[in-house]
């Protein structure tokens, strides 16, 4: 989004009612553009006046303060092993998980180095990819839960639209104590389909734009990982679009409950 497009929806953004698909793009632009950031802060300040203008009421339950203190203290305690410098440790976590998954992806790519065997092994390869991805996700899930016991993990396979080629997988880590993370792996896509736009939606139709995969490797594959400041709770519909905006892969994530390995 450019400045003009962002300014058009800034009042709604400041009021918390911007269209779901715009929110991530606005946040990204505002982070990088000082003028729009200033405008956003001023509008948000105006919006908060509506909250402060309300006549204050007494909390019905005097125990609320204690519950608030307990909730914050509990969240801080759960995160303390990995939270000396919050942003840095979170990003390191994402990098490690993405790197582990990338190794698995490259392993599959190496198998396919001989182009002549591609067609013959295609069916086996897709099955192998799916199995490896789920296994590598299992490691990622175990690592995430070890670092952040309160995290919820969702995984799922992505399927191609109609009879087009391509497979993929998605994983989200929804954490009460740190940034939520998302990883998307794609395989067997046409290299001409790049850049690919990644997004994830919830049941209410709100969509978060996750970013783009600029180019694919020789096997039509790529891995993308991102940490987000917004919660991914409820976001389970992963969508991959090609350069023309057509959906090429799509899948629904489900809660990961059974993890074979107990520790990283």
């Amino acid at each position: 989004m450019n400045c003009s497009a962002v300014r058009d929806v800034l009042p709604e953004f400041a009021l918390g009612v911007a269209p779901g698909g715009d929110v991530s793009a606005i946040e990204l632009h505002v982070e990088q553009c000082a003028a729009c950031r200033k405008e956003t802060l001023e509008l948000q300040r105006a919006v908060t006046a509506f909250g402060y203008a309300l006549p204050p009421v007494d909390a019905a339950d005097p125990g609320l303060e204690l519950r608030v203190v307990d909730a914050v203290r509990g969240a801080a305690r759960r995160a303390s092993p990995t939270r000396d410098r919050p942003t840095r440790s979170r990003r390191a976590g994402v990098t490690l998980i993405a790197a582990a998954l990338l190794v698995a992806t490259l392993g599959v790519g190496a198998v396919m180095a001989n182009r002549a065997e591609r067609l013959r092994l295609q069916a086996e390869r897709i099955a192998l990819q799916n199995q490896q991805e789920l296994e590598s996700f299992g490691d990622a899930v175990a690592s995430a839960r070890f670092a952040d016991p309160g995290a919820e993990v969702f995984t799922g396979l992505l399927a191609a639209s109609d009879d087009a080629s391509g497979t993929g997988s998605g994983l989200t880590i929804v954490s009460p104590a740190s940034q939520d993370q998302v990883i998307v792996i794609v395989h067997d896509l046409s290299r001409r389909s790049a850049p690919l736009a990644l997004s994830i939606a919830n049941a209410r139709g709100r969509t978060l734009e996750l970013g783009a995969i600029r180019r694919l490797d020789s096997a039509g594959g790529a891995t993308a990982a991102r940490a987000l400041d917004v919660s991914l709770a409820g976001f389970i519909d992963v969508i991959v679009r090609d350069a023309r905006g057509r959906v090429v892969l799509r899948g629904t994530l489900a809660a990961e409950t059974a993890v074979a390995s107990a520790s990283p």
């Binding site: 105006a46 006046a49 509506f50 006549p55 204050p56 009421v57 909390a59 303060e65 519950r67 942003t87």
Partner: protein, 173 residues
Amino acid sequence: MEGLLAGDDAAIRALYARFGRPVYTMGLRLLGSREAAEELTQDVFVTAWRKAARFDPHRGRLSTWLMTIAHNLAVDRLRRDTGVTRPKLVLVDEVPESAQSVDEDLLLERDAALRAIAGLSDAERRLVVRTYFRGMTAREISENDGIPLGTVKTRLRSALIKVRKANEHKEYI
């Protein structure tokens, strides 16, 4: 903020003492029940803890930052409930005003806010109620009222700019 980051009791209590009541009040108005408002209040302070490392006092005021978090969480919850069991909007008159003493800074904040809102036209106030208090998008208002989307957006912008101008030169918290 350092104390909040560390989960320090005194820091959390200090933040709650200052902002707990306006956050709870806003939650009650939007969500319509004390139970939901209390859950929202807990969520707001946990979210504030999660985001505390990124709060920059040079970029904005603590009161704006915290109430923005609170309102966004409330609107998310309000919209999540839309179409299922959307709570009835609790009007200002229906809930008795607190008889307890209120923090002086918050009284000043509220006084400034009331004066800023007094400058809005009736149409602008109605828009504010439907966006801020009901979580309706500009497109939903446009479709519901048969008003062009551009007109709704222009009025929203106009309302916020009026409030912003009325609030200029005021730095309470």
